[in-house]
């Protein structure tokens, strides 16, 4: 049997293509939701980590360290298979969203912290000397500058989150990978898996290229 018929079987690909697209849609929804929740929660964590009272700072730090240490698959299985024992029964989508955004928030928090701490002390002092409140200092002076610094690493993190959505197939989410494995079983041919891989790459490659461009651009920015 030749390799094209096995891995790039056009007939099989055409037949399973709609399934894969349905899976892609689930992947995109799950990825986007996790990224947004992770961003909001991560920014809050970063601000607590830097500016809150000592015990809260410590708690934020413990959270960040734990969720950067735990393997995502382990967390996902705990959320989906272990939480029901204490009466928390989340759907596949919510389980995956929870696990993905808990971990994403931890990484996002560290990215935001690095971004904020990269802003020169003089910017904080000038804001304070002008009488700006903490809220205005952050909103008008610090965060707009930090955003530029954090966009490349945040995009990297978002790419990772989208890739990690593939783990959701473990908790019976009909995402791109799950659809592909099912289609592979139905067609008795692995071409849908290759199809899924191509879709992942086609979807994420532009993002990866964009990050590289941003890094080059902001990397040359000296001030």
């Amino acid at each position: 049997m030749d390799i094209f018929e096995t891995f790039f079987n056009v007939d099989v690909l055409l037949r399973t293509y709609p399934l894969l697209l349905k899976g892609l849609w689930v992947t995109v929804k799950l990825g986007a939701a996790s990224i947004v929740v992770g961003l909001v929660f991560g920014l809050a964590l970063a601000l607590i980590r830097i500016y809150a009272k000592r015990p809260f700072r410590l708690l934020a730090r413990i959270y960040i360290d734990i969720f950067r240490s735990i393997p995502l698959l382990v967390l996902l299985i705990i959320v989906y298979y272990a939480l029901p024992f204490v009466g928390i029964r989340l759907s596949g989508f919510l389980s995956a969203l929870t696990a993905l955004s808990l971990v994403s928030a931890a990484y996002t928090a560290e990215i935001f912290r690095a971004g904020i701490e990269a802003i020169p002390k003089g910017q904080f002092e000038a804001s304070g000397a002008l009488g700006l409140s903490y809220r205005h200092m952050m909103a008008d002076v610090i965060l707009p500058q930090a955003i530029k610094i954090v966009i490349p690493p945040l995009t990297n993190n978002s790419i990772n989150v989208i890739k990690d959505t593939a783990l959701a197939s473990v908790v019976a989410m009909p995402d791109l990978l799950k659809q592909a494995t099912q289609a592979q079983a139905l067609a008795a041919n692995p071409s849908p898996l290759i199809g899924a891989a191509i879709i992942y790459i086609a979807f994420l490659w532009p993002l990866v290229a964009w990050v590289s461009r941003l890094e080059r651009r902001f990397g040359g920015d000296t001030r």
Partner: protein, 245 residues
């Protein structure tokens, strides 16, 4: 008699290093005071305490316009009355020059965009930066940036202006343009406290000169007294070192 800016028994330590060892200084409204002294003498630390960019010990007391410079709510009040110009400008690099000047009046005094724009343009004209209003700070020379920083501080209509070595980071040919703006400002009646190495400026513009060394005020006097007939040996040694080269 208590001054407009009143500093009493000011102590400040960094770890075990005593940066300020009990400073007493009374400054009248409208007065221009220059603080000189060797580096590490505590001059910058002193003026950074006046708007509490540096914390200081509880038994110290600083008042500006009779408001205690204490942590908490009143600090915002004090900071609204006290403008500051830094050695390293500290302009906001992501905002245009005009926006730099507009930001604080809009956020702190709730000025409208129109009011803030009008005031910013007036101030930028006064410091001679009108043509650069729509540029970003990074494209300006050091002297221009420092003049914008002065305009930004003045936009809050402060009663006191603090200058922390405003010309020390500048190329020599740009020192003059900044000092000229400060000289003009000195005639407007705003209280100015200037930490500087520019002895010419201190001599010409100051009402009083404060000589500091090792965290203490060694001598205070008129420019003629300090530069012409210093009473203390430390003052004399410092001046002969900086003036004769």
């Amino acid at each position: 008699m208590s001054g407009f800016v009143s500093i009493r028994n000011l102590h400040k330590s960094f770890g075990t290093f005593e940066a300020l060892r009990g400073i007493d200084l009374e400054i009248a409204e409208g007065e221009v005071v220059c603080i000189i002294g060797p580096s590490g003498s505590g001059k910058s630390t002193l003026i950074r305490c006046i708007n509490r960019l540096e914390e200081f010990s509880d038994d110290s007391e600083i008042r500006v316009a009779d408001i205690p410079v204490a942590a908490g709510r009143t600090l915002a009040k004090v900071r609204a009355e006290v403008g500051m110009v830094f050695q390293s400008f500290n302009l906001f690099p992501h905002l245009t020059v005009r926006r730099n000047v507009m930001l604080a009046p809009m956020r702190v005094h709730k000025a409208s965009v129109a009011e803030a724009t009008e005031r910013a343009d007036k101030l930028l004209k006064r410091v001679g930066i009108s043509e650069q209003a729509d540029k970003y700070p990074g494209t300006l020379s050091g002297g221009q940036q420092q003049r914008v920083a002065i305009a930004r501080a003045l936009a809050m209509e402060p009663k006191v202006m603090l200058f922390d070595e405003p010309t020390s980071a500048l190329d020599p040919e740009m020192v003059g343009e900044v000092l000229d703006v400060m000289k003009a400002l000195a005639h407007t009646g705003v209280t100015m406290i200037v930490v500087t190495h520019e002895m010419g400026f201190a001599r010409q513009v100051a009402d009083r000169v404060v000589f500091m060394d090792a965290g203490e005020v060694v001598e205070i006097g008129t420019p003629d007294q300090i530069f012409g007939a210093p009473k203390q040996d430390r003052t004399r040694n410092f001046l002969s070192a900086v003036l004769n080269h």
